[in-house]
Amino acid sequence: MDSGKVKFFLGEVLRNFTRNTGMQMTAIGTVAITIVLLGMFLFVRAALAGAGAQLLDQIEISAYLRADATPKQVTAIAHYLEADRRIASVQFVPKRQGLAELRERTKGTIDTGLLTENPLPDKFRIKARVPDDVPAVAAGVRRLSGVDNVVYGQKIVQRLLQLGAVLRRIGIGVIGVFFAVAGIIIANTIRLTVFARRREIAIMQLVGATNTYIRLPFICEGLVDGVIGGLLAVGLLSIARVTLWPRLLEALPWAQLRAFPLDPRLLGGELVLVGATIGIVASWISVGRHLRT
């Protein structure tokens, strides 16, 4: 290893980096903001997915049978349900049990003792493996003969699925814009450095330095911007997690948040990597445009 070579190179990178401190800070700050937003988005998405999954988990499909359904039809329905791989569990609830459950649930509010006969039909209680499959499973069951009516929390399921999709789109849009802004600001910072060093670059080209070699210090500069921005963002997010997470749990008990929905260390590493990538890509493009002769 030629330590003189390394020292010379690092010196050049450091000179670039300290030449334009204000612009450097702006670039780092924008990367940090972008990555904080990305981290928050990933957090909210994971939390919503967790809460949504819990809500959707409790959703069951009730397939009520016709009063005149023959035992043969009931058996056929049971076979059908057991064969469907999208279904996690099936339970037959005869009307007697249904009434008992109803009594249990409405204890003290409705006097079911007044009922002279059982108004409830027999039913199958079905749980889908994946919430997204609920509507399709329900539609399939509804077509079977002997089935009278199929009920599940249609509205809730649809709303939750829609909400998830909308949030995802808004989040991706906002973060996309911030990524573009961060990239442009880094590219601009590099452009200023390239401009400040145009004499050096001209001499390097004159004495036969390769484009890769000329590029390298600028790419490193972008990389440093991106990594520092990323580390800053991860630091801010960590502080937020330690201080805000317990309060969030207190403030939103109904949200059924339990564990922190992401692995903080893995996420931190990924976010710094994202910062590094923004830095490298932005500076690569920026220098490339100025080296073309």
Binding site: S3, K5, R199, E200, L206, V207, G208
Partner: protein, 236 residues
């Protein structure tokens, strides 16, 4: 060492800077390119180090077909050449030593070679004692000697100079001229574009005259002005 055959250069704005130029320069030659301002001297040199690309013709420099060289091979071509300009093109925030070493460092030279080679060329140009000074602490002649040291540090076989004495007073001019002659005596092929009559007439080397992008004369031991007699130089 250098060969141009039927070379023309038309700039994007339509200016025809060179028109069907044929020129052969042998290894170890010393050649002056003379002619009025705007006749294409700089353009011809630019073609040789591939700063400009010939519109037509063949150019060979040290065995490399410069007219056809791929962009990725241009750095390799330039390591065969040293180039010196009127305005020195030194980096003001680097010392003499650093300016010279820079040309080696950015082409990936090993530090061991830098430490050996830089003192050698600084000695050759007579600047060993000023290696720690910055360009703005030097005279014009010393700055140009630094630039020449930088051009030579990678051991090129060819040295191209575009008006090397254009910014210098007569004393510094003769200093630089003497230095170029010494470099040539050590075997380096030297091409100098100049409109300095005194330099050309004192040296009595090969003179190639350009006029409006064409070579009009090519004399073995020439003067700046065509057909000038030795007696006239001595008396004038």
């Amino acid at each position: 060492m250098i060969s141009l055959r039927g070379v023309s250069l038309v700039y994007p704005n339509g200016v025809r800077a060179l028109d069907n130029v044929n020129l052969e320069i042998a290894k170890g030659d010393f050649v002056f390119l003379v002619g009025h301002s705007g006749t294409g001297k700089s353009s011809l040199l630019r073609l040789l180090y591939r700063e400009a690309k010939a519109t037509a013709g063949q150019i060979t420099v040290d065995g490399i077909r410069v007219d056809r060289v791929r962009r990725s091979r241009v750095p390799a071509l330039r390591r065969h050449l040293g180039v010196v300009f009127q305005d020195f093109k030194l980096l003001n925030d680097k010392t003499v030593w650093e300016n010279v070493a820079f040309a080696m460092q950015v082409t990936g030279a090993h530090t061991r070679d830098v430490m050996r080679q830089v003192p050698r060329v600084l000695d050759l140009v007579g600047l060993s004692h000023k290696s720690r000074m910055y360009p703005n602490e030097l005279s014009g002649g010393e700055q140009q000697r630094t630039a020449i040291a930088r051009a030579l540090v990678n051991n090129p076989k060819i040295l191209l100079c575009d008006e090397p004495t254009g910014n210098l007073d007569p004393t510094n001019t003769s200093e630089i001229t003497a230095l170029l002659q010494r470099i040539n005596l050590k075997g380096t092929t030297v091409v100098v574009a100049t409109h300095n009559q005194a330099v050309v007439d004192r040296m009595r080397r090969r003179v190639v005259r350009l006029d409006d992008g064409r070579i009009t004369t090519d004399e073995e031991r020439g003067y700046y002005y065509l057909g000038l007699r030795e007696s006239q130089v001595l008396s004038g």
